[in-house]
């Protein structure tokens, strides 16, 4: 970690009476802080130096004194303040004791540098927030157009169809005649065999629940008589398919549409 923050490693026995006084004043108002980092930032101001030159050791001392003071005054501190106190006590010992070569963790200097960085960054963000809010603001210092004119939207729909679409459509219509004359001639009876045949062909595609009525052959949908026959046959056929384990059927309520789909899995 690049060490571009200097901090004081010398334990200053002469630590500020004024800092103590500040700490005591702070204790009374502990609720006014947004947490340990905020408190540390406030304490650091008592050092009256550039945050980059702050003595972290000194700051740790101040903080611990603050916590002591709070204890003495029997002020209940939130857990995170105590966690910070414990951590700063640890940091303090790291900074004061000669480094243990067998210790793998980060050095006291590294930890201190990071804390200094955090404080400087928080301070910078607070300053930036203030500068941001001090800017001219829309609706307060400058304004948008008051009488806007609505843009009217005109949508033109263009239909596309190719000669192939046309021919396929005609083929579809004609094929219906070719392949389904039997139904016409045998009048309004659609057999279960026919329905089963049809459903077997279709069910493979029926991944989603779909109304039973959508499985009726087109030619059998409109005429009520034909529709009734086809519905009955298709329903019977669908039960057959369910029995065979090829389809699933459900009806959410009495008289609700009967839904059918392929047996999944």
């Amino acid at each position: 970690m690049p060490d571009d923050h200097s901090y004081d490693l010398q334990f200053e026995e002469s630590h500020d009476v004024s800092a103590r006084l500040v700490a005591e004043a702070l204790v009374v108002d502990v609720d006014g802080f947004e947490g340990p980092l905020d408190l540390l930032l406030t304490l650091s101001r008592t050092q009256k130096v550039d945050l980059r030159k702050i003595s972290i050791l000194n700051l740790a001392e101040q903080y611990l004194a603050f916590v002591e003071e709070a204890k003495r005054l029997r002020i209940e501190l939130a857990a995170d303040y105590l966690v910070m106190a414990a951590w700063l006590a640890f940091l303090k010992s790291r900074l004061l004791l000669p480094p243990d070569p067998t210790d793998e963790g980060p050095s006291g200097e590294e930890l201190a540098a990071h804390l200094a960085f955090q404080l400087e960054r928080l301070e910078a963000m607070r300053r930036s927030a203030a500068r941001l809010m001090a800017r001219d603001q829309l609706g307060r210092d400058f304004f948008a157009r008051g009488q806007t004119e609505d843009v009217t939207r005109r949508k033109t729909v263009k239909y596309s169809a190719t000669i192939l679409d046309l021919m396929q459509a005609y083929a579809r219509v004609k094929t219906r005649d070719d392949f389904e004359p039997l139904h016409m001639k045998r009048r309004a009876v659609y057999t279960m065999e026919q329905a089963l045949e049809r459903l077997k062909g279709l069910i493979g595609y029926a991944m989603e629940w779909a109304d039973l009525s959508t499985y009726l052959p087109e030619a059998w949908r409109l005429d009520p008589k034909k529709r009734r026959s086809a519905t009955a046959a298709t329903f019977a056929a669908s039960l057959e398919m369910v029995k065979e384990g090829k389809a699933e059927i459900r009806q959410d309520d009495a008289f609700a549409p009967i839904m059918l789909r392929k047996k999944l899995g």
């Binding site: 939207r153 263009k158 239909y159 169809a161 005609y170 409109l222």
Partner: protein, 215 residues
């Protein structure tokens, strides 16, 4: 003399801002206000001593021939889009849609069987043809009314138009391939499982919600 000068300087403390500044102020106010502003209202907003009428005249001149102009609306003033640019305030969009299955089938039947009545189309398709489908095709200019059939009720017939031929690149309706050709082209045998191609298309056949489809 000295006294005079003193008076001048005192006066100037209360002087209205220069005309150019008054113009700027009016410009900003008229831009930001939601309603046209009367001269009176503008005078109330501008510093004391401002000559609103004159400033408005200057401002109006400045916007002459621009994309917006300063206009008098009753006894109030407002910025408005220059009349010749009104077309910019319309957003046009073109959306291409595929004809519904019902529409393309109806169109195909008309093309192959013209002149054909609505009842005949229904007979061929095996389902009823909604008014909406025919209206759409009429609106597209692809079909038109032919002569009435000499059958009871003298029903109207439909035929395809020159536009239809142009759109599909046909010289005459006789150029449409016949059933045999369709079959040999494989178009008759590749019948998709009915109702499984596309759920929406399938629903079209009921024609009930035909209208909604084109909103």
């Amino acid at each position: 003399m000295a006294e005079n000068r003193e008076n001048d300087s005192i006066d100037s403390l209360f002087d209205a801002p220069p005309m150019a500044e008054q113009e700027r102020m009016l410009e900003a106010i008229l831009f930001a206000t939601a309603e046209p502003q009367t001269v009176k209202a503008l005078e109330d907003r501008l510093p004391h001593g401002a000559d609103v009428k004159e400033a408005l005249t200057h401002l109006q001149k400045r916007y002459e021939g621009r994309g917006v102009s300063l206009v008098k609306v009753g006894d109030a003033w407002a910025f408005r889009t220059a009349p010749d640019l009104g077309f910019l305030m319309q957003k046009e969009s073109v959306e291409t849609r595929k004809l519904s299955r019902a529409a393309i089938e109806t169109l195909a039947i008309i093309a192959y069987h013209q002149p054909v009545t609505r009842a005949e189309i229904e007979e061929i398709r095996g389902v009823s043809v909604s008014r909406g489908t025919l209206d759409l095709l009429l609106e597209l200019g692809w079909i038109k009314l032919g002569r009435r059939k000499m059958t009871p009720g003298r029903p109207v017939t439909f035929i395809v138009t020159q536009d239809f031929l142009d759109h599909f690149g046909l010289e005459s309706p006789k150029d449409l391939p016949g059933i045999k050709e369709l079959r040999s082209a494989g178009l008759l045998d590749n019948r998709p499982p009915p109702g499984m191609m596309n759920k929406d298309e399938d629903l079209d056949d009921e024609d009930s919600d035909q209208e909604d489809m084109f909103d």
